[in-house]
């Protein structure tokens, strides 16, 4: 990581800590939502951006995590256990969903995960005895740790930010470990990865399971943040939104999900002035961005920065086009 990136990340982190003190309650809600969605997007970025497995199921995992937390805490299970259960359950289900990924690739996998998302939505909607059906689950608790209650908006925001920080460092560490390298190898050239002795089977399942478990943790935080969940929050649109966040931010870039989630949370608010036309403009922006910068905002910044710094260096004399051209 170079200096410019370190400095900008330090500034962004400081901003994330100071921001709630300068915001109204709704603003704090928005940045809490940003932290929650970023966690889900980091998970999807791991599956899609690093391991190259197209998943349209992240929204469903957020849903599974949210319902797990809500139902367990209402059944009297202590918050930390319910929170862990959300992630662990999604890890197991994500592992299972990884099996189709072993057999099929690309668009087929997209459709299997899409089907999975729809089936989860139908289960949440129809199994009223468990999930409350279309009425959802109400009055979801916020945690209390050693007397520190996160009931207030600002306290809960710091709880979300804390979880995000822990997860971000864990993922960053993992990506620098042999595991992270293996994920990238899986995306770039699975056959070569296999021939080099990587257990691609296990790493594919792992990429799915870890990505899904982060979706589950995000769902658990989401449930306590909005304190009311219903099946429609976790329909296909949520998965599409998360997918767009990862792509807009920059898939395969560590900072991509942070930026993508920020855009997805703030843009609708900034575009309040456009009234109902927000989604049209958002869709149009993405369609314009895809051909121009398919590597996303972070990719664009990185390339722009590289182009600037490379220009300053004097070109090596032997390689100038004038000399090499015949």
């Amino acid at each position: 990581m170079n200096r410019a990136a370190t400095i900008s990340i330090a500034f962004a982190a400081a901003g994330a800590v100071i921001a709630p003190f300068m915001l109204k309650p709704f603003g704090i809600f928005l940045i809490s939502m940003w932290a929650v969605l970023t966690i889900a997007a980091i998970g999807l970025n791991l599956t899609l951006g690093y391991a190259g497995q197209v998943s349209m199921a992240q929204g469903a995992f957020v849903g599974i995590g949210a319902y797990t937390l809500a139902l367990l805490t209402q059944a009297g299970v202590p918050y930390p256990i319910a929170f862990a259960a959300s992630g662990i359950l999604c890890f197991i289900i994500g592992w299972g969903l990884g099996y189709p990924a072993l057999r099929v690739q690309h668009h087929y996998l997209a459709f299997v995960t899409l089907a999975f998302t729809t089936i989860v939505f139908l289960l949440l909607r129809n199994e009223e005895w468990l999930t409350g059906g279309i009425y959802g689950v109400n009055a979801i608790a916020r945690p209390v740790f050693f007397g520190w209650s996160t009931g207030k908006a600002m306290d809960y925001y710091f709880f979300c930010l804390g979880v995000l920080t822990v997860i971000a460092f864990a993922v960053w560490w993992m990506l620098r470990s042999p595991w992270g390298r293996a994920f990238v190898a899986l995306r770039e050239n699975p056959v070569r990865a296999l021939s080099l002795g990587l257990d691609t089977r296990r790493y594919t399942l792992m990429a799915f399971a870890i990505g899904s478990s982060l979706g589950g943790f995000a769902g658990a935080l989401f449930a306590s943040l909005v304190q009311f969940i219903e099946p429609a929050s976790f329909a296909l649109n949520r998965s599409f939104d998360l997918l767009l966040m990862v792509i807009v931010g920059g898939s395969g870039y560590f900072m991509g999900p942070f930026v993508g989630a920020l855009v997805a949370v703030l843009l609708p608010e900034w575009m309040r002035v456009t009234e109902g036309y927000y989604l049209i403009i958002y869709a149009a922006l993405i369609m314009v961005m895809m051909p121009l910068a398919p590597y996303g905002i972070v990719g664009l910044i990185e390339r722009g920065y590289k182009a600037l710094t490379v220009k300053r260096k004097p070109p090596a004399p032997m390689l100038t086009p004038e000399r090499t051209a015949p």
């Binding site: 197209v54 057999r103 690309h106 089907a115 050239n189 056959v191 296909l236 049209i280 993405i286 051909p291």
Partner: protein
């Protein structure tokens, strides 16, 4: 038995419409590796073109022709040159994202600029009941079935029996070889986009009287097209037709005999089984992949 026949016929009618949508979907995939996530919206939109034409006083048949013509321009030509062509060099996934955005764009545009309410749409024939073997079948289902079958036959004829159609198939199967043999590949790719637009417009005319014209129609229809294409076989036109028909019948029978709450889940379960057991689809060929 009578109700079974009724369900079967209406299932066939829905399935035939799904098949039209799925065929266009597979054609785009074969010729240009375009996975069009906006395919459902492509079926939702022509109904509104027709309604707009009718609001200006055009008779229904003329409006249908105008609707098909506008669809060819917007969903065929404009879609290819504005959305697909700039994305092709970036691979499959960015184009998928772009078409998801396009689907959102079309849906919101109809909601904001036309109406968010379901619009009544004129029927092709007056509703009446036909009695066959004691089963009561609506004339509408029969007409839908007839038009859809005629379209499928016409298209099969075009693809298999005419020089143009064979060139299109050659382009779909092996663009490089087709180019060497003197097939104008670029033009053939464009033609498949036009054909897809026409199929979507016809499907729209057939399905809108049943579902009413609404901006959210594309969600279920697009899903049906994907499922039909994958169940039948992504790289075969007749696979997509088979997939569509299976899906339509399954949809109606499962809603009646198994569970109406989970009717949307049965096709998905079949999808997952097909992908796991026979990923190339029921009638599909195995695609040789380059590493």
């Amino acid at each position: 038995m009578a109700s079974f026949i009724q369900l079967l016929v209406s299932g066939l009618a829905t399935g035939a419409i799904y098949a039209l949508i799925a065929v266009g979907f597979t054609l785009l995939w074969q010729t240009s590796q375009t996975i069009n996530f906006a395919q459902g919206e492509f079926v939702m939109l022509p109904a509104f073109f027709i309604l707009i034409a009718m609001n200006y006083g055009a008779p229904f048949w003329l409006s249908c022709l105008i609707g098909i013509a506008v669809s060819i321009v917007v969903l065929g030509i404009a879609f290819k040159y504005i959305i697909v062509d700039p994305m092709l060099k970036h691979g499959v996934l960015p184009l998928v994202i772009s078409s998801i955005a396009l689907a959102l764009f079309l849906k919101e545009a109809v909601k904001d600029f036309y109406s968010s309410q379901a619009q009544p749409f004129p029927v092709l024939v007056e509703a009446s009941d036909v009695h066959i073997f004691g089963a009561v079948i609506s004339s509408q289902s029969l007409v839908v079935l007839a038009v859809a079958i005629a379209t499928v036959i016409g298209m099969t004829f075009l693809l298999n029996r005419t020089r143009l159609g064979r060139m299109m198939q050659a382009t779909a199967q092996n663009p490089t070889l087709a180019r060497i043999l003197g097939v104008p590949v670029r033009r053939m790719v464009l033609y498949t986009f036009l054909l897809n637009a026409v199929l979507c417009a016809i499907a729209s005319i057939l399905i809108s009287p049943i579902y009413l014209a609404k901006f959210t129609n594309g969600e279920t229809l697009g899903m049906a097209a994907f499922l039909a294409a994958i169940i039948g076989g992504f790289n075969q036109v007749r696979g997509a037709i088979l997939g569509g028909v299976i899906l339509g019948i399954l949809d109606n029978l499962s809603a009646a005999y198994l569970s109406s709450q989970y009717r949307a889940a049965f096709p998905l379960i079949i999808l997952i089984i097909v992908i796991l057991v026979r990923p190339q689809g029921l009638l599909g060929r195995v695609e040789e992949r380059t590493v």
